[in-house]
């Protein structure tokens, strides 16, 4: 059996590892536009100079050799012929028995007039983006980031480490509005401001202008205000790279006939590093003939760690009518739990995330904690403590 995997991101790599584990004698070919394996979540550390390209890798240096994987790097797949079972690219084709499309996503570009006509505008998605931003930023002083979400703030953090003082613009009222409430967000905003960052909230960029040579020179906000700008970083989300997919993924992550699967951001399903890994594993098991259903995780979940302040945010963290809200604040710590009808709906834990992982379990599995006769702050796995015959933990209902 020959497996072809397009993409060497989280989903592709986990899929290759899974196939190799379950079907060690099968042939695996990986094809990628990227010519290095790297974690996108660490690109800002490359911009900031904290990590080399090699240190961005999330696999061991001999990952491909150890699994007898043929890796065709620097190749963009242009088409798939599901009848002939081939993938095609500039200069050749590759046949497959099972195919995984794990092509990831591209930075979304908001409708900003003039963006396509000038240089100096980048997303932060690929290593090439990070390299371009780092090179350009070295000689730039007026740097603007559009988007104060995780990627935008990652970019700002990397640039601050380069000694830069970027401006960050967002349509929301606060940073990280998808992940944190305003109180938790303000803690990070203050830290970024102390480091020299300037924020413009409830604003958007409507237009950019270039100098005579096609280089970005200024941007114009929706309000009409002009801001000089020589480097613009767009971090407003992603668009799945789904053009190779013959159809939508089913519960086995199959996207066409029985031979074609998809995983990771390309699927348009829940988009995060852990989701991509999970999808990569599920798709690979199905490619090996081990029937496995993918269970979509709907709950928002993320961690934030800037300036030594860590936060965890899971689920619905803004209370609405009918919710019970527990909030605890003390030195350097802000913790908030939203409970609906005895079931935790969301948490924000900031400043102290020690041994907090069970909250995600409770939220994802709609576990009612009402009957536990103790303060919500004391609830832990000890209250539903179970062990199976192999000594693994399991939650007791």
């Amino acid at each position: 059996m020959k497996h072809v995997i397009i993409g060497v991101g989280a989903a592709g790599i986990v899929a290759a590892n899974t196939i190799s584990k379950h079907r060690p004698n099968d042939q695996i070919v990986m094809i990628s536009a990227d010519d290095a394996v790297y974690s996108r979540c660490m690109l800002h550390k490359y911009i900031g100079g904290g990590r080399s390209v090699e240190a961005l890798s999330f696999v061991s240096p001999n990952f491909f050799e150890a699994r007898n994987i043929v890796w065709r790097k620097g190749i963009s797949v242009t088409g798939i012929d599901t009848a002939a079972k081939t993938v095609s690219f500039d200069g050749g084709t590759e046949t497959y028995d099972k195919l995984l499309i794990a092509t990831g996503a591209k930075s979304a570009l908001p409708p900003i007039e003039g963006v396509k006509d000038c240089s100096g505008v980048y997303g932060l998605r690929d290593l090439a983006d990070a390299t371009a931003i780092r090179d350009k930023a070295a000689g730039a002083e007026k740097i603007v980031i559009v988007g104060a979400g995780l990627v935008g703030l990652d970019a700002a953090y990397g640039l601050i480490e380069m000694g830069k003082k970027p401006m960050v613009i967002d349509m929301a009222k606060s940073v990280l509005s998808a992940n944190l409430d305003e109180r938790a967000a303000e803690v990070y905003q203050t830290k970024f401001e102390e480091a020299g960052c300037v924020f413009r909230f409830e604003s958007k960029v409507s237009k950019v202008r270039s100098d005579g040579a096609g280089n970005l020179s200024c941007m114009i906000l929706g309000s009409g205000e002009e801001i000089p700008c020589d480097l613009l970083i767009i971090a407003v989300g992603i668009n799945p790279e789904s053009k190779l997919l013959p159809g939508k993924p089913d519960k086995y992550l199959k996207v066409g006939d029985d031979s074609v699967f998809a995983a990771g951001d390309a699927t348009g399903l829940s988009s995060s590093w852990p989701s991509a890994m999970e999808q990569g594993e599920v798709a690979a098991l199905n490619m090996c003939g081990i029937e496995t259903v993918y269970e979509e995780c709907l709950a928002q979940r993320n961690t934030v760690n800037f300036f030594g302040i860590a936060s965890v945010s899971v689920g619905r963290f803004l209370a609405t009518d009918g919710d019970t809200l527990d909030v605890r604040v003390d030195k350097g710590r802000y913790q908030k739990i939203v409970i609906n009808d005895g079931v935790p709906a969301g948490v924000i834990l900031q400043g102290d995330i020690s041994r907090c992982g069970f909250w995600q379990y409770l939220i994802r599995n709609n576990v009612n904690i009402e009957k536990i006769p103790r303060s919500v702050w004391k609830v832990s796995f000890a209250d539903a403590y179970g062990l199976n015959q192999d000594g693994e933990y399991e939650w007791v209902k």
């Binding site: 590093w273 020690s354 041994r355 832990s380 000890a382």
Partner: protein, 150 residues
């Protein structure tokens, strides 16, 4: 794989396991020099108490489906297919703490002093056959046994 099995009914909450863990990762022999209130030195395990006031030891299970490794974006947290241990590489870790959020039992935590790495059981990899917590448990509440799943 070899796993630390837990019989929570035998646990007296003495926390000898936690002291043994701190000592094992201190870098110097002899418990006499161990500072129990050190900020830098933390036990990887702990003993919880449930609402019925029963002790429940919380030890990394090196799970067969480890939520920590399945969310690690740096390659620092990896399940070793040979030994079954979930190994953690301080050098690779980017301190995103997705593993802390994704451990369904709440075993993992960032280190208290610097907040730059994860406090994670290594099975006392360099200390010989059995982890120090197990060697120092006075009641046999924890013991190492070979289990069938990896």
């Amino acid at each position: 794989m070899r796993r630390i099995l837990i019989d929570s009914e035998k646990c007296l909450g003495c926390k000898n396991c936690s002291i043994a863990c701190m000592q094992s990762h201190r870098g110097e022999d002899g418990v006499a020099g161990l500072n129990l209130s050190s900020q830098e030195l933390e036990s990887r395990n702990t003993v919880l108490m449930n609402s019925k006031k029963q002790y429940k030891p919380l030890f990394c299970r090196h799970c067969s489906k480890p939520g920590c490794a399945k969310s690690c974006m740096s390659g620092a947290m990896v399940k070793n297919p040979e030994t079954g241990l979930v190994e953690y590489d301080y050098e690779k870790c980017a301190a995103c703490f997705m593993c802390v959020m994704n451990c369904p039992f709440g075993v993992l935590k960032p280190d208290r002093a610097s907040g730059t790495y994860v406090v994670k059981c290594d099975f006392c990899a360099d200390k010989g056959s059995n982890p120090e917590c197990v060697k120092n448990c006075p009641t046999g509440a924890i013991k190492v046994e070979e289990v069938t799943t990896v």
